[in-house]
């Protein structure tokens, strides 16, 4: 009996000590982590809006500076980020959709009428590194810039393979070789962005 009691007590005390340690470390680091995440998100916004001309990797200060000077945040049912460019507005918003292994969260920017995608960036995903994970690559994301949104509600922007996708007006982008399911998920994500989220966005900003 004594031995059993010792085991239970030992496990209990050790667990408490470790949990307290972790809580302490977490409390110390959470400020930094939050700041990193906020900065990362602002960097994404600047990327989808193409605000940093020239510099591919704006410094942290440039990111904060551009964010506070150019981007307006509108709270609502769906938080919308608004940028004014030459008299017209562009909207960016987050969309979540199922990927192959987990949720893909993307930041999508569209023009005022929702007729063209102006930029896309993936805030978080857990696709296979080297395969589906390549959605993070510039060459994939840049394809969406200025792409026309099709009237077909099941393929607003089709992610296709083996077709000519060079034109900005064909509503088609190249899929990733070896990542069919991820490519399908991206198409579904854009459908959701245009079909469900964009109407909400318009309600919020008007």
């Amino acid at each position: 009996m004594n031995e059993k009691l010792y085991s239970v007590l030992f496990a209990f005390i050790l667990t408490t000590v470790f949990v307290l340690c972790l809580a302490g470390i977490n409390a110390l680091a959470s400020g930094t982590i939050e700041r990193n995440e906020r900065l990362e998100f602002q960097r994404s916004l600047i990327y989808v809006f193409e605000l940093s001309d020239g510099a591919d990797f704006p410094s942290n200060e440039e990111v904060q500076e551009l964010y506070s000077s150019r981007i307006k945040e509108v709270e609502g049912e769906q938080t919308v980020y608004v940028v004014e460019k030459d008299g017209t507005r562009e909207f960016a918003f987050t969309v979540q959709s199922a990927g192959l292994w987990g949720t893909i969260t993307a930041l999508v920017a569209v023009d005022e009428s929702g007729s063209r995608i102006t930029g896309i960036d993936f805030v978080s995903h857990s696709e296979t590194p080297g395969l589906g994970g390549r959605i993070d690559e510039e060459s994939f994301k840049e394809q969406f810039r200025g792409e026309l949104v099709s009237s077909d509600s099941s393929a607003r922007v089709a992610v296709v393979s083996g077709q000519d996708t060079a034109s900005r007006d064909d509503s088609k982008v190249d899929a990733i070789t070896g990542a069919t399911r991820t490519s399908e998920s991206i198409q579904a994500l854009l459908n959701k962005a245009v079909n469900t989220v964009f109407p909400l966005v318009l309600e919020v900003v008007d």
Partner: protein, 199 residues
């Protein structure tokens, strides 16, 4: 104790290498080795976790009751992995993003538990710490070798820098998990031939 620090260190890296001799840690060997940067960080993460969990388990070994031994080991390992995860998120956010769920999966790496059970349980803290570090290094070296081949042929790059000529066609199979099976198998075969012959 008969074993010197040096023999323990060298045994873990070569004669008793966790990956090629004990065939442990194969899951992560397949998962993270398609590029060198991720592999290196994973290796450093594992060295850190194995070393410190071995140290802690060894320091507590006389007090840990036998019947809850495993639970306590997992608790200690998990604590260090979470610390690692928090540190990466706070100070190396881009790498934390690239490694994604793999950091958390260090908990399931059998090498750590293996070293805890086979070594730290019965040896002093300093020796266990060295044993943990060297087991981690042994693991990292093999993974880096696999990643070197996979990244070179799969992307034409090393640590993200292009080394293959422009016209080089990447081998898609190298990016996918099956290629790691072939390469790891070949490495084990080549590395163990002299060891087996000696016997």
């Amino acid at each position: 104790m008969a074993e010197s620090k040096k023999t323990i260190f060298l045994a873990n890296i070569w004669k008793n290498n966790p990956v090629i001799v004990q065939i442990l840690g194969i899951c992560s060997a397949l998962a993270v080795t398609n590029n060198l940067t991720n592999t290196l960080i994973m290796g450093i993460g594992l060295i850190f976790t194995t070393a410190f969990s071995s140290l802690t388990i060894s320091a507590l070994r006389r007090h840990i009751p036998k019947n809850v031994r495993m639970m306590v080991q997992v608790l200690i390992i998990a604590t260090y992995v979470i610390i690692l995860d928090i540190v990466l998120k706070a100070y190396l956010p881009s790498i934390s993003k690239a490694l994604g769920p793999y950091v958390g999966l260090i908990i399931t790496n059998c090498i750590i538990m293996g070293r805890a059970e086979a070594f730290a349980q019965s040896h002093g803290p300093v020796l266990s710490f060295i044993d943990g570090i060297s087991a981690g290094i042994g693991y990292s070296l093999i993974l880096l070798a696999v990643a070197f081949i996979r990244e070179l042929l799969g992307f034409g790059t090393l640590f993200g820098l292009r080394v293959m000529p422009e016209g080089f066609t990447p081998w898609v199979i190298m990016i996918m998990a099956p290629s790691a099976f072939f390469i790891l198998g070949a490495i084990i075969w080549i590395a163990r031939t002299p060891i087996v012959k000696k016997k």
